[in-house]
Symmetry: C2
Subunit: 341 residues, 2 copies
């Protein structure tokens, strides 16, 4: 009992060493799993550790190892609520899964607005984390630059808009959009519209580019009346679809550049009396399996989110281990045909 008496502050390595009758170094070896320790001594140390409920002081350890064993997922946005986005929820889940077997910890940092972004930058520069995975959503974001200058291992989720030479993992958004659009054209659709994402997000840009490529490939001229910009939200998708129906009532297909927007677009489409996919064929970009709940299941472009997140952690951990190389990965997307359009 006396050993736990002064429980004001937690026990140190020395106290464990004394109780176990060995030196600090040996305790350290046991705690860090070094094999060069006699089983006998090891047991004594383990007993002492258990009795004192010893937990190593991270600050002391990090001060010498220069490692914190934690990485940050930072979410940079101007004002919108990333958190409500099921896509983001999935990324978090996949990331913690990827780190589950590691002894790496994952912390989330939210940076809305300039002040918070600077706070996050400071946090990172002070050495709280070994590396960061950055989800920066809009082009005018300053955080990518701040973090790049902080000299901290960094992996971007999504290709940076400014073409900065930085490590990133992206989905083949253009390829997926192209495949989706081509699928509609091949099925005989002649008036293929699109609900795009915002022009300042890489996903919106690339998916629109893919749509255009498919049209060009098929020798179809682009009709501005068939293009409406959305904002990746359900409401935005509904608004864009409404605009499309007004401008081009004869459209017979639509490629919707995101999941939530697809839900909104479908609602408007059905409310207008059109049947799906009878009158209008729809292909959506499946960020997260939201569409799976829509009825009936539609053809979608699937993102390999699991693969992407494990690649991001791999690339990041490599940098943490000292790899200087700037690596880039673009994961293939694939068209999942769920009905005959």
């Amino acid at each position: 009992m006396t050993t736990l008496a002064g429980r004001a502050s937690s026990p140190t390595l020395d106290e464990v060493a004394e109780l176990a009758g060995v030196s600090r170094a040996t305790v350290s070896r046991v705690v860090n799993g070094s094999p060069k320790v006699r089983p006998e001594a090891r047991r004594a140390v383990e007993a002492a550790v258990a009795e004192l409920r010893y937990v190593p002081n991270r600050m002391a350890r990090s001060l010498v190892t220069r490692r914190t064993d934690t990485i940050a997922l930072v979410l940079s946005e101007s004002d919108t609520q990333v958190f409500s986005d099921p896509f983001f929820a999935r990324v978090v889940r996949e990331l913690s899964a990827a780190l589950a077997d590691t002894e790496m910890n994952l912390v989330l940092l939210a940076a809305r607005g300039e002040r918070e972004q600077e706070k996050v930058g400071r946090y990172v520069r002070q050495g709280h984390v070994d590396g960061v995975i950055l989800m920066s959503l809009h082009s005018q974001d300053t955080l990518p630059r701040i973090l790049a200058e902080a000299q901290v291992p960094l992996v971007l989720s999504g290709r940076p808009l400014d073409g900065h030479p930085v490590c990133y993992v992206d989905a083949d958004n253009a390829g997926g959009a192209r495949a989706a659009t081509a699928h509609l054209l091949v099925a005989g659709r002649r008036r293929v519209a699109t609900v795009t994402g915002p022009r300042d997000m890489i996903g919106g840009i690339d998916r629109y580019a893919g749509y255009r490529t498919a049209l060009r490939d098929a020798g179809v001229a682009e009709d501005p009346a068939l293009v409406a910009e959305g904002d990746f939200t359900e409401a935005g998708g509904a608004a864009a679809m409404t605009a499309l129906l007004e401008r081009a009532p004869d459209l017979d297909a639509v490629f919707v550049a995101s999941d939530p927007m697809e839900v909104g677009a479908l609602r408007v489409l059905r409310a207008s009396g059109r049947s799906v996919p009878g009158d209008v064929a729809v292909v959506g970009f499946d960020d997260a399996p939201v569409a799976a709940t829509s009825d009936p299941p539609l053809t979608t472009v699937a993102q390999p989110l699991g693969e992407m997140t494990s690649l991001m952690t791999e690339l990041l951990l490599r940098q943490v281990e000292g790899d200087d190389e700037v690596r880039v990965r673009v994961c293939p997307t694939r068209l999942v045909v769920r009905e005959s359009a």
Copy 2:
């Protein structure tokens, strides 16, 4: 240029001291804003800090101060996606707002499943944070106990189900539900149904209790056919509403225990051909301002989320400063009448 030559590792206090021509101690004083330093020396130090881009090493500082200046918001859940919940998004926003003027940092820790919960427990015990705000959603959660035993400053969001003597901030869920139900009864509604939350969440329990209290106050017997359990999601609300309409087609009012559920319930209600609030009056519990987007605006019970989060940080920071007292706050909820039911 030579001063930035070896930019491999960041500059230390000594380097700044040498460049400024003062001692480490003085640099430390300047960096920490001590007033006991000659303006002249201060300027020299500031110049050196700027030139070297000096940033204090947090680990070294924390090792001696025993403070990290960061608190964690930990989200404990078994499997559901808290992240998709707009309520949670609002809490995060309010919390960072409350800490914006502080030099406290906020990190989010997601703990899904037992393994991650233990990882979070370890993270906290190792001294990475000065305190934690815990959003534990289900009753069988082990994290509250783990953290309580970790001796770390702790504030729960929501009253703990097991009545453990711990600091927490809660909304007056029972009072709000009671007011909502009473409002419906006073308006002359005779068949007041309810869509409850889960039985293992404090919010679900307390709001159901409030509903029952209101019935008892009015001398109305509770009818099991008028009670359906939801899961706080939109889909769950829709399912519960469907069940209610089947079991009690004559219901003329319903108290819905959460925002997303209200959206689902309204959809079902309207699809059934009933007018709202003509045929069926609806009052929902407004966790986040989702209902504001529903049409028409309905009467709701509003939670003072801003007040709650600032109370949580206040209570937590007090503990960090050494306050032992176990304090508890229950914030009043208020009925916002938006239409004549």
